[in-house]
Symmetry: C2
Subunit: 490 residues, 2 copies
């Protein structure tokens, strides 16, 4: 790897972009704002998806699939919803192309104009509640607990791979309930599913909180979120879970008969995470040598590289790793043996480092002779030469240790970059260094937007699990019921 | 289930539509031509997807994801490709809505017109080969073996749930190779994967064949296919695998340096199956009582229903089924115990029959006393009362037998509805009764389209595995190299 890459210190943003290419995760396509998710990146996303999907099913949800297109009039039915999404959507207006009469090529056929334009879904509340209308008559039809894995489109003007793209992949849960309490419980439950996934699989600690009114999802009564801290101290919203009240039920006239036969509007939630999580994963753990992956999400958990001069040596080393391969596969550990003769071991080392493979094994003729193998950890970049006998259980222990170490490291980083501030002066001096700031706020939109304007920092959330501490707003001096979390964010 | 449903005999097409609703598989959405795949239908599709996905990976393929949108100019680069798809596509022309000045609602913002229109992908050859161009320089970069699970849109005018919808879900494999031979081998390999899946999981026998030139995929040099026979004797194309030659490589200028450094165009294949397979599955096995599912694809393989008067009886029966549930789960058999007290056993029986659950167990107080359980097979509609002890291994055997029986039944049906015909007179007299007809054809487009015009029958394929038998065309009397398969088709 002769190429020199920029370090995090030098240019965090450029480091990120280079890393996504270097680890072969994704690339920009020629279609404005749309990315190509390459096989290695997609393999990580598949792991995320499968783990989340199992958790959704464990908590009683089923998958379904709703149309990609939303009639313009549906989007308009919930007033704040359309305000939130109309400004950035892809609009289908025609359904046919034809050959231009002047022979200049293919043009849109003006005769094939749609009566009503279709919007490529930016999110599916409206199209789904339009269906729920027909599915729900009585309390017996509730709850409905449905999730959808899908692509969505939001016409973002400034895009970044995984973090903000015009098209992205996500899941969106949409549930319908007979009572407000049940819907709120559901929104909280799914937030817990997300935070559990973030911490125990992504090794990424998250704050669980509630958005302020101005940061809420368009159409929600309450938006819960998980917020993670990236290595540059910026916040990344990693998932949201919305209590939608009866807003969509009212917009689409969805009522149910309760046990007494009385008609009531249905209560709703929606919740989602997206390929944005890929960006969060990358920026939480990776270093200047490339991607660092937690073993729980690594498509290749262990890679082995032979170091040899002769074919006999290669054959003997291959036999050893072949043996190990079977043993690891039986334990569900993904193992790759890279004996490709066209590439030098040093090149391979750098390659698997860039791709974040948690453990790398290497064996040369002398190791073979002595019954040894070299084991290199990606997270700490430490190496050990150990007995080949017993390497299998060593690997199991080590993968577990790496997973824990990455979480601990991220937790330590966050702890040392999260502080209380009490004056706006202090806040303004420190905010550019990054980090999360717990500060008092008077609860008004005016103060919130003044702070945003002057510092680019936003209120990430009001923490769910914190002792309330009253105080005075750092900007206006008015009373404050609790500290809230400020940060600059992705 | 008081409602009376139409039988296959009375109206096959209506029977199909009613069944899709009755088994709760899918429904029409308000968006023209787009369907909602409901949880039970989606659960079957998920099983199909997971099995196919594992097979693709076993044969060396990786998943990736490419943009939903295709610039109009890309689609135009391969001449026959654009001819095939331009007439039925959704065109995105704008990227923003705004409030109408007269307050009448939300309208398309004329200021947000795209410079170049985007087509919602009807298939992804063009956008993918535009990427491959940058991925391929040398023979070392080949082969590329990629699959994508995605939604696609083709603006069909006459739609039917699963069989023909404007939006559908599918997988599309796109591979790039250094040699023609390797690409042809790949196309054949994937056809075998499809036919193996159809026969061993869907219990649906298929003919493997080659399409005539006029039935080829737009942009292919050769289209291989699997064709299945539905219960009304019509053919359904269940999957296709295309040898694309160098057509897309030439359209997108994709060359590689071979071992001697000489530049050559890359060879390509693409192959796909879609949610259409759901329609094929339904029409192969189902009967007038509803869906019949092969155990390999059934979301619920075994359902158990208690029949009781008292709570004590229910408790005792539940204990038995609880025990069985654990034993079956340990064997990977999906089991549902339906003790919902709001519904009568008879209602449940009809419901699970309509949903095609392969085995239904029932236990009443007397069964409990005698250590018995009633087992009902969905495929044969036979019932047996057997000892509860040992029911677990009985179930395992029975599921296997049902899977085999469904395939055998479908094979017998096909065998008795596939015949050789030698005169056009015979052909015309018999074609309306349905079935596959092996007949001689002179190999010309003219004769092919004359037959289609006069009988609505098409050449489904030229069989891959058949002894060649020369003869004379049933229409023109000109020489024919082999019999081909004619049928009316979905």
């Amino acid at each position: 790897m002769a190429q020199k890459y920029v370090t995090r210190q030098e240019d965090y943003s450029k480091w990120y972009n280079e890393l996504v290419y270097r680890a072969d995760l994704a690339e920009h396509s020629d279609v404005r704002g749309c990315m190509v998710i390459k096989p290695y990146g997609y393999a990580i996303w598949e792991k995320m998806r499968d783990i989340l999907d199992a958790k959704f099913k464990e908590t009683g949800h089923s998958n379904a699939y709703f149309p990609l297109f939303i009639p313009k009039s549906y989007l308009s039915k919930e007033a704040s919803h359309v305000d939130g999404f109309a400004k950035e959507c892809a609009v289908v207006t025609h359904y046919r192309l034809k050959n231009a009469e002047d022979g200049s090529g293919v043009i849109v056929d003006p005769a094939a104009k749609l009566e009503e334009e279709l919007i490529v879904r930016p999110t599916s509340e409206t199209i789904i509640w339009n269906s729920y209308k027909n599915w729900i008559q009585s309390y017996r039809d509730l709850p409905i607990l449905i999730n959808q894995w899908a692509n969505v489109v939001r016409w973002e003007m400034r895009t970044r791979l995984f973090l903000r793209t015009a098209e992205f992949l996500w899941q969106e849960g949409h549930t319908a309930h007979a009572t407000k309490e049940e819907a709120i419980k559901e929104a909280e439950l799914m937030l817990d599913v997300y935070s559990d996934f973030a911490e125990n699989y992504m090794a990424m600690p998250v704050l669980k909180g509630r958005k302020t009114e101005s940061e809420r999802f368009a159409g929600a009564d309450d938006t819960l979120c998980i917020e993670a801290m990236m290595q540059d101290g910026k916040a990344l919203q990693a998932g949201t879970s919305h209590f939608l009240g009866q807003n969509f039920a009212k917009a689409f006239e969805v009522k149910f008969a309760d046990k007494e036969g009385k008609l009531e509007y249905v209560w709703a939630t929606s919740w989602g995470v997206s390929t944005r999580l890929m960006g969060a994963l990358i920026m939480t753990h990776s270093d200047d040598e490339g991607l660092v992956l937690p073993p729980a999400l690594a498509p290749i958990q262990v890679v082995a590289v032979p170091i040899h001069r002769t074919d006999e040596e290669l054959a003997a080393i291959s036999e050893k790793f072949d043996q190990l391969s079977k043993a690891l596969k039986a334990r569900g550990i993904s193992f790759k043996y890279d004996s490709d003769d066209n590439k030098r071991p040093g090149w391979k080392f750098a390659e698997y480092e860039a791709k974040g493979v948690p453990l790398r094994l290497a064996m040369g003729p002398r190791d073979l002779e002595n019954g040894k193998v070299e084991v290199a950890r990606r997270d700490t970049k430490t190496k050990e030469v150990i007995d080949f006998d017993g390497v299998e259980s060593y690997i199991v222990t080590m993968l577990d240790e790496i997973q824990k170490n990455l979480l601990q490291k991220a937790m330590d980083f966050r702890a040392s970059n999260m502080k209380k501030v009490d004056t706006y002066q202090d806040f303004k001096e420190q905010i550019d260094n990054g980090g999360f700031f717990l500060a008092h706020w008077d609860g008004t939109k005016e103060t919130e937007s003044k702070i945003k304007e002057e510092t680019q920092a936003t209120i990430r959330c009001m923490l769910l699990d914190q002792e309330l501490e009253t105080g005075v707003c750092m900007v206006t001096g008015k009373p404050s019921a609790q500290r809230v979390v400020f940060a600059k964010a992705y």
